[in-house]
Symmetry: C2
Subunit: 112 residues, 2 copies
């Protein structure tokens, strides 16, 4: 993941917004995150993702997929399902997931 | 804005994801942000928003609207348009905006 905004992909595409507040339990979390990145990156319909976290506060991760099929493969991955369960028991105090179809997008990069 | 994830609203609703990298120029930015919050909050179709920013890195703001009409009113607001122009000339090095219709959502809050 770079430090730049994900690009504006060609609509339509899928976008999953995961906003969350972490718990104080980080046991196994960095390893799981690395493994999840590995799995989702191998999905041919995965377009990219981006994350931001305010220290001590809210984290927002956005993942982009070409179509519903790609997102379904990701949602139903067995390791991902186990990680989601771990998230509810251990890693997150609260979260919301919004799944949406992107209708339009555009990007801006300053010149010079 | 609280430090909790926005709730899962009743689909369908609109979601605008604005991911950005700030420039070093913050002149007038806090005041403009406060004014934009004031304007959008007065929009009857505005459902809520949430933001996270990694220090020195990416910021992600997500705004939720009931329908396209509410989002159009926000996009065409004259003060908002002036602020967007200011954003391109002064406040942002890069950004991407994705506008989408949310098809499903769910939330989790830890008990106890």
């Amino acid at each position: 993941m770079t430090n730049q905004p994900a690009p504006a992909f060609e609509p339509p595409y899928l976008m999953a917004v995961f906003s969350n507040v972490r718990s104080s339990d980080a046991s196994g979390y960095p390893e799981a995150l690395a493994r999840m990145n590995e799995i989702v990156s191998a999905n041919p319909g995965f377009l990219g993702h981006e994350s931001a976290r305010t220290p001590g506060g809210l984290g927002i991760t956005v993942a982009y997929f070409r179509d519903h099929e790609a997102l379904t493969v990701w949602r139903e991955d067995m390791e991902h399902r186990a990680a989601m369960e771990r998230g509810r028991t251990d890693w997150y105090d609260s979260y919301t997931l919004h799944v949406a179809t992107v209708e339009r997008s555009h990007g801006f990069v300053r010149n010079g």
